[in-house]
Amino acid sequence: MSTFVALFTISLNAILAENFILVKFLGICPFMGVSKKTDTAFGMGLAVIFVMGLASAATWAVNEFLLVRLNLEYMQTVVFILVIAALVQFVEMFLQKALPALYQALGIYLPLITTNCAVLGVALLNIQNGYTFIESVIYGVTGGVGFTLAIVLFSSVRERLEDCDCPKAFKGFPLALIAAGLLALSFLGFSGFKVFG
């Protein structure tokens, strides 16, 4: 029961109170870059959930069974980014062969994910927080869910920003940032949110 509570708390935190984009500032580049249309935003979100879950599992295993055993923890950054890059490449090839329909939907987003700081961030945070294997995977997947929630919400706001009347200097990117700020403000309401005391 207590593990269930712990996992539930981790998930809720990752999705709402410590949302990767709006509270932790991880993964802003794809958040701004791929949020112009709701369906592409959703596709990107799904790809990120998938890769963050896999990357959490892979980096946790590499850290536990390789780096810690060999006393090479200081190589974490280098090794993790290589694991993630290889993983993304592998996922891309696997999807292309096995699930062409899914590949069609996610394909173009996958290469972008390698340099998504949310993915490397979740790998590093898992180790920093001392999560177990299951906790890491849950944190990765729910972190991705939080990312998807934020990017889908934001894309629907952004579709409306396209043709609004605002000062010339604010057109485009700055206005999108301000809108994202207001979205972050609403997520602030979840901070300090606890379900089980």
């Binding site: 802003i28 580049c29 950054t77 340099t115 000062p167 206005l175 301000i178 207001l182």
Partner: protein, 213 residues
């Protein structure tokens, strides 16, 4: 070599954060005190210069197909070095920047400069490019820090000028909101708008000059 022109590009017309819109995660996340901003800016500048030099020196050896992977390994190596050095000599900075130091690896500015500049130019030019872009990044961070620290905590130079900095606003006035994540988005949005406005004015002036000629 026109250092002046490159410096102007790095600071204003082609500023990595404010014009190229790269590396925004760290820009918004850590700019709550001047100490953080300066520390992060300097770390990125050093890594940027080193990785630009190495990548430019190796540009003829690295095969084209795996160049991105090769760049990332070079960058990750330097990031690890800086991370370990900070942990050893400036633990306070390492604590307050936390996960954002290792995350410099995926900072688009560094990979972007490697791909756009260092892979096509000589070693010296790449070093200068790293320096000017790094200065531009640091300048953007410092401006963000000063604004957010002033509005959010009412102080200046926290961590740099003594532990609490110089108090400008009385302790009751500051809006805590500005140093929360929300403030990061709002401040950066306004700064980018300002840069776009300045750049447009500059471009108009150039055009007028040419028209007079």
């Amino acid at each position: 070599m026109n250092f002046k022109k490159q410096l102007k590009e790095g600071l204003l017309t082609n500023n990595p954060v404010l014009s190229q819109l790269l590396g925004m995660c760290s820009t918004m996340a850590i700019t709550t005190t001047l100490f953080n901003g300066l520390g992060m800016g300097l770390s990125v500048t050093i890594i940027l210069i080193c990785s630009n030099v190495v990548i430019s020196a190796l540009r003829k050896i690295i095969p084209d197909k795996i160049r991105i992977a090769a760049y990332i390994v070079v960058i990750a190596g330097f990031v690890t070095m800086v991370d370990l050095l900070l942990k050893a000599y400036v633990p306070a900075l390492s604590d307050s920047l936390g996960v954002f130091i290792p995350l410099i690896v995926v900072n688009c500015i560094i990979l972007g400069r490697a791909e756009a500049f260092a892979s096509k130019n000589g070693v010296l030019a790449s070093a200068v490019d790293g320096l000017t872009q790094g200065i531009g990044y640091t300048a953007a961070l410092v401006v963000m820090c000063i604004i957010r620290e002033f509005l959010g905590s009412g102080t200046f130079g926290k961590g740099v000028l003594g532990a609490d900095g110089v108090r400008i606003l009385p302790a009751d006035y500051p809006a805590l909101l500005v140093i929360l994540p929300v403030g990061g988005f709002l401040t950066l949005g306004c700064l980018i708008a300002l840069t776009q406005w300045i750049n447009r004015k500059l471009a108009e002036k150039e055009r007028e000059k040419e028209a007079v000629k």
